[in-house]
């Protein structure tokens, strides 16, 4: 019963967050200068044309009226029609979401693997040159933002040593059997490793660019908390039992030291998803972020709203998952 109450409470706070995000984005994009009608009509269009189109999209009504129309639509599952693409918003957004999710998850995996390995190496060889090297690498990784890493990677592995693809999600020449938009997962499920490999070659650089700063943060924090944990009494006690340094780090210190890092990964992962907007643009990757930029350029108000709502939902789900994992790993919170 307690668990059920906790879940219901969580769902309630999640919906408040979503409604908040919807209200803010709805009003802000209508207050900032620029309007979609101006983007659609050629220069010198007559006042009459402008008025007719404005009325057609309901933009002549007051903002509150517009909000009410949009909100009632949303509760019926209708997020409006994209002005620039002239298609319903939700299918458009959901069609692009899997590409972004796959990119973000791939980036997260890379960041956790690199960051975790660096932290463990740094702790295993603490107070030696190896740890200094890890610190330097962390500093470099942190001080260069993801979009700059993207440019560096494009120059290195796209131009000077062209081993990876720099543009798109998959080679256009390939024949695609996919029925879902989760290409990477579906290629594995269909055992089409040729397609899977092509997808990875496209995803690797944008994912790595997103992953490097996160890897540096993970490495830094995890190494720090591991080092602090290594001084604690229960770690010392396990040494006297005859365990090796590796065992002491991995099975005594790590499960406790990983907790603060886990919270951080949750927060940083939402930043990483924010980062996909620019990174997808740089690599012409057909994801939600790329679509968001087009939507903003075209002042495609319904599409922007739809994208923001989906991003907001994604962030609240990530927070929920992080909290649940945290409770699962920390016995002191399990009954709280």
């Amino acid at each position: 019963m307690k668990l059920l109450r906790a879940i219901l409470l969580r769902l309630a706070t999640m919906s408040v967050t979503l409604i908040g995000a919807a209200v803010v984005v709805f009003f802000v994009i209508r207050v900032v200068p620029g309007n979609p009608i101006a983007m659609m009509l050629p220069p010198g269009a007559s006042e009459e044309d402008i008025a007719r189109l404005t009325a057609h999209y309901g933009l002549d009504k007051t903002i509150l009226e517009q909000f009410w129309i949009w909100l009632t639509g949303v509760f019926h599952g209708d997020f409006g029609t994209s002005i620039s693409l002239r298609q319903p918003v939700m299918p458009l957004v959901l069609g692009r979401l899997p590409a972004t999710l796959e990119l973000a998850i791939f980036a997260l995996v890379i960041a956790v693997v690199i960051g975790g390995a660096m932290a463990l190496t740094g702790v295993r060889h603490r107070e030696t040159r190896t740890e200094t090297a890890v610190d330097v690498a962390n500093g470099v990784g942190l001080s260069i933002p993801d979009f700059l890493w993207a440019l560096i990677l494009i120059v290195l592995f796209g131009v000077l040593m062209p081993v990876f693809h720099i543009s798109g999600r998959i080679s256009p020449s390939l024949d695609l059997p996919f029925v879902t938009q989760f290409y990477v997962f579906e290629s594995i499920a269909r055992l089409r490793f040729d397609l899977w490999w092509d997808l990875l070659k496209h995803m690797f650089m944008p994912a790595l660019a997103l992953a490097i700063p996160l890897a540096a943060i993970i490495s830094q924090l995890l190494k720090q908390s591991l080092k602090e944990t290594m001084h604690l009494d229960y770690v010392t006690l396990s040494r006297t039992k005859g365990y090796s340094e590796n065992h002491v780090i991995l099975s005594e210190a790590l499960p406790n030291a990983v907790l603060p890092t886990l919270t951080l990964i949750g927060v940083q992962f939402t930043f990483l998803i924010g980062g996909t907007v620019i990174i997808e643009r740089l690599f012409s990757y057909e994801g939600l972020g790329n679509m968001a930029i087009d939507a903003v350029i075209n002042r495609d108000l319904p599409l922007i709203q739809g994208i923001v709502i989906v991003f907001a939902l994604l962030f609240t789900i990530i927070n929920l998952v992080v909290d649940m994992t945290y409770a699962l790993l920390n016995p002191r919170l399990r009954h709280a």
């Binding site: 010392t236 005859g242 090796s244 406790n256």
Partner: protein, 292 residues
Amino acid sequence: MSAFLTVNNLSAALHGYDQRVLRSVSFSIDTGEVLGLVGESGAGKSMIGKAVLGILPSAIEIIEGEILLDGQDLQKMKPADRRRLIGATAALIPQDPLTALNPSRRIEPQITNRLVDILGWGKTDARVRALELLNEVHIDNPERVMGSYPHELSGGMRQRVLIASAFAANPKLVIADEPTTALDVTVQKQILRLIRELQERHSTAMVFVTHDLGVVSKVCQRLSVLYGGKIVENSSVPDFFTGPKHAYSRALLAATPKYTDPDASLLPVDEAVIEAVAAEVLASDKEWRHGG
């Protein structure tokens, strides 16, 4: 009986410094014997225990001397062999039961892990042994405690668990590092009795580190008084309490509150005595430098 632990002329120093933190310490303990290491904070009493168990902080290194555990010179062994020997024959009862148990693991594996991972016991045997040990430390419902997490147990319970864990592999040597300091007085007494009981039953050699001479008189047969990392007096417990030889020992004894005479005022250790013993320690440094 032969000595199970012999420490010969052991000196340790901060890495890269000439200043010693342990000064030519020598002592030995037979099977079944309890040696008290007493001294004020910073006298190096815990450090001796850490040196024996191979858990000195990385900033401190042994610069001289030998530690013979079961006849084997620890300094000359390969690190992996040394770890195994210590894990199989010696154990630590730590000072603070609140921090000495891993908060994210249940009690059972924290008692049995040495048996299973280091000594190669089967899981079931180790579990039976753990239950038996929890009975030995007078825990009423061992099944429930084995499945608990440390935060669900009181300080006294946790110290009992740690004692059970220390005696799990029938160690020949137990180092008790101020095992009652972090506990309140009523629990202290029970825990002391418990440690003594297990030590006698298993005829374990024990090093009992404490600053409480009252505890020494109850638990130990012999004691060594430390000042500045140097042993200033070795004595049997009866001899010490009837007539300590060193001036510092006499001052320490005089500064101990007496339950028989609660109205007597507490004497701080005389400054002149401190100066004298400090001078003695420094003089031994000079001698050591010329000799070495």
